[in-house]
């Protein structure tokens, strides 16, 4: 689901979707959706710039192994023509299992959990095919690989997950607790990382948003702090925390529900532009600052907690995807409410 949304909205010219050992119905879903979808970038059909390698789990095991390589090779072909191509490989765990099945049938000695000893090098060779190039014709082009890994039983120490993390530049780690709470997308802020955040900050600074790096740092620190206090609050109860700490907890909740959580089924909220994301975060952070200020003024924290934050929490859903102005209006509305507290 998340991968399909990425396929729909990401800023790439060619999308190669590899359904590796995929469910037949999900493949049918992707195909049907693509043929209906208008491309948000060109206004034509999204299917026109998409390649789908459809391999379902009941097809022969060797076809599953080949499907991943087929996908990258197709993407490289478009890269060499000067396009930015994205390969979405769903899922590399199924691919690794095909390697394992083949290895056990050909009598290879099993290494970790029955996978062949060549698994890390096979993974590395696959992910290393991503990169930016200057084509022979002089155009900049790239292949980006997004691989899905589904660790059995959620065990992130199993070989495929562990080795994949060694070779990639960034990880979005989906969290079971968030998924249970129907927090979509269930990307956990704690388990995910990006080794390119600094470079991205510089890119945003060059493209008119110098605040990006600072904003990201503030959000990650607030979330981390809120998680830490959340654990503490689970032990001693929220009521016994001092006002400042309770505002941090509140800030974590506002960030989670107002910014990070999206509604994939809503026309407004399925996709959020960088500008709207920035506006949402600024809105939440400034409201949090106002709450801090209120606590310092002597307002009791529970009064702040019982406030109706709905205008802020619904901002993502009720303003259009590029509606930074609408968010600003709600920010003012919330700020007035908080400032009005005695």
């Amino acid at each position: 689901m998340l991968l399909q949304q990425i396929a729909k909205w990401c800023a790439a010219e060619v999308i190669v979707y590899v359904g590796c050992g995929e469910r037949g119905n999900e493949m049918a879903d992707v195909l049907a959706e693509l043929s209906e979808l208008a491309d948000p970038r060109t206004g034509r059909r999204l299917a026109e710039r998409t390649v789908i390698i459809a391999n379902t789990s009941n097809m022969p095991m060797m076809a599953r192994e080949a499907s991943i390589y087929t996908g990258v090779t197709v993407a490289e072909y478009f890269r060499d023509m000067g396009y930015d191509a994205v390969v979405i490989a769903d899922s590399t765990s199924r691919w690794a299992e095909a390697l394992r099945e083949f290895a056990s049938r050909s009598g290879a000695l099993p290494a970790e959990e029955g996978y062949p000893a060549s698994l890390p090098s096979a993974l590395a060779a696959f992910y290393e095919r991503a990169g930016r190039v200057t084509t022979l014709g002089g155009r900049p082009a790239s292949v980006t690989i997004i691989g899905a890994v589904s660790p059995p039983g959620g065990d992130t120490t199993e070989p495929v997950t562990a080795h994949t993390q060694r070779f990639v530049r960034g990880v979005w780690s989906l969290d079971r607790e968030l998924a249970y709470a129907r927090h979509y997308p269930a990307v956990a802020w704690a388990g995910s990382f990006s080794r390119d955040a600094e470079g991205l900050g510089q890119w945003y600074a060059r493209h008119g948003d110098p605040e990006w790096g600072r904003r990201r740092a503030r959000v990650t620190s607030v979330l981390a702090e809120a998680d830490r206090l959340g654990d503490l609050a689970a032990l001693v109860g929220t009521g016994s925390l001092p006002g400042h700490e309770r505002v941090v907890l509140l800030a974590g909740r506002l960030l989670r529900e107002g910014v990070l959580q999206q509604n994939a089924l809503s026309a407004n909220d399925a996709h959020c532009t960088a500008a709207k994301t920035a506006a949402l975060i600024d809105a939440v952070l400034s409201v949090v600052d106002a709450c801090e200020e209120a606590v310092r003024r002597g307002v009791i924290a529970s009064e702040i907690e019982e406030l109706d934050f709905a205008p802020l929490l619904r901002a993502a859903d009720e303003t259009p995807p590029d509606g930074a102005d609408g968010v600003l209006a709600r920010q003012e509305q919330m700020l007035d409410l908080v400032r009005g507290l005695r």
Binding site: G21, M27, G114, G237
Partner: protein, 470 residues
């Protein structure tokens, strides 16, 4: 030949091999064969004591050696009295409406005292992979009449949705109830129930609850009991699915296939694997367990241009409640969600003991909502689940700090859980709830919380459904 149609006329002309070299567990090795292919079905003819026929499938051929998997096992066979005839093709079963209303054993032979099932057409039991571009996306719900499933994990026509359970929970009752009372609205609907490794008591209970539907000619019951030959279970789900595919795609019916219990099936697979001396994978299950389960589960779905659908509902017990056990783990990768039964909910006396937070129907948005169930269904379900997640945190907190230290809102969340379990989840084992009633109950549960907590429901929905009750 495994089909009840009988192929003895053909087989009489075929070569009979009698050089049986070895018998080991479910496997039989025969020497001197030629022109035999993998997956061919075979008939064993037994002379002397215990004379009669047994059935098998070729697993492997190497030069003039063939390994045959004997569905009834090799117990009591004497090599010199046994000869084998190969059919020249994979196992086939007759397909048609003649199966409906019948009770058969795991190999498709009637045990209800009726005549063998015959039909004009036959189909190979192994099926074949469907080209994904020919699939139609699943839409519209299968209404099970069970609130926990209809409201929160809607079963969609063409979906595969397993029930994960542990020993001692009423998963068979639930599967039986779903098989007995499911419907596809006004469209023609049939059920194929394949029981694998059921105890006699369970088998009787299943037969009881399905009696009515059986008599109405809407159901086929395949029963492999715990003391029936183990290897026969490998064939049972395949017969069920082959019959279901024909009913769905040739006869335009919506078919629900219940496979209970898949853990017993996987054990049969493991038994064959270890008899063949294969390298064991996790928990000694064969490395190809995933591929094998996929060939079963992936046979559900809809086909472009056809009316019918095959919906698969596998039931599996997780040994020692371990959801990372290979069978539930690999099943979860292939299927579109899961319904998880929980011993804690069962202990509180709730039937069906569904754990709504661990359960999920990935295709729910295709099968529910405006025009399918009701426009408020999806946001309402999402809101209930989010509130349950919050309530669970509150309960953990309450256990540490005590109820008295909770805020007023938090106490409402605790009340919400109680109303949810008794007002929505809990129902009688023969009670069939209409969709409308289920959704009304959902609103009654949501109304326990103050409006400001219901952030996932739009203002219009809240106004329409909450104001009305004042």
């Amino acid at each position: 030949m495994t089909s009840p149609s009988g192929r003895s006329g053909l087989a009489a002309l075929a070569v009979e091999y009698s050089d049986v070299e070895e018998m080991r567990g479910p496997l039989l090795v025969v020497r001197g064969v030629s022109g035999v292919g993998w997956d061919e079905s075979a008939v064993l003819r037994i002379a002397g004591e215990g004379s009669g026929e047994r059935h098998g499938v070729v697993l492997e051929v190497d030069h003039d050696l063939a390994v045959v998997q004997v569905l009834e096992g090799t117990e009591g066979l004497v090599p010199r009295d046994t000869s084998i005839v190969f059919s020249g093709e994979p196992a086939r079963v007759p397909v048609g409406p003649g199966w409906l209303g019948r009770v058969c054993n795991g190999r498709g032979e009637p045990v209800d005292g009726g005549p063998p099932v015959t039909a004009a057409a036959t189909a190979p039991v192994s099926g074949s992979p469907l080209n994904p571009t020919h699939r139609a996306r699943p839409t519209d719900p299968v209404l099970t009449g069970i609130s926990a499933i209809d409201a929160l994990t809607t079963l969609v026509r063409g979906q595969k949705l397993p029930i994960f359970s542990v020993a001692g929970l009423p998963h068979l009752e639930l599967a039986g109830q779903i098989a007995a009372q499911s419907s596809a609205g006004a469209d023609p609907f049939s059920v194929v129930f394949a029981g694998m490794g059921l105890t006699h008591a369970d088998a009787d209970a299943v037969r009881d609850v399905l009696e009515e539907r059986l008599a109405a000619g809407e159901l086929l019951l395949l029963l492999n009991t715990a003391d029936d030959p183990v290897i026969e279970r490998i064939l049972t789900p395949r017969i069920a699915l082959t019959v279901a595919e024909h009913l769905a795609f040739e006869l335009d019916r919506h078919v629900l296939v219940v496979l209970a219990d898949m853990t017993s099936y996987a054990e049969a697979l493991r038994e064959v694997s270890s008899a063949r001396g294969e390298l064991p994978g996790r928990r000694a299950y064969p490395g190809y367990l995933y591929s094998d389960l996929a060939t079963l589960y992936e046979r559900c779905g809809r086909i472009l241009g056809k009316v019918g659908s095959v919906t698969v509902l596998p039931v599996l017990t997780m040994p020692a409640g371990d959801i990372t056990h290979p069978v539930p783990d690999l099943t979860g990768y292939i299927t579109e969600g899961q319904v998880v039964l929980s011993p804690e909910v069962h202990a509180r006396g709730i039937y069906p003991p569904v754990d709504p937070l661990a359960s999920l129907s990935r295709l729910m948005r295709n099968g529910a909502g405006a025009g399918r169930t009701r426009d408020d269904h999806l946001p309402l379900a999402a809101q209930l689940l989010a509130a349950l997640a919050r309530a669970r945190q509150v309960r953990e907190l309450a256990e540490i700090v005590g109820d008295a230290a909770l805020s007023a809102t938090d106490r409402l969340y605790l009340e919400f859980v109680t109303t949810f379990e008794h007002g929505l989840l809990d129902q009688q084992s023969r009670e069939r709830r209409a969709m409308e009633e289920t959704l009304e109950r959902c609103w009654r549960v949501a109304a326990v919380l103050p409006r400001r907590e219901l952030t996932m429901l739009s203002k219009a929905l809240l106004d329409a459904h909450l104001q009305r009750r004042g």
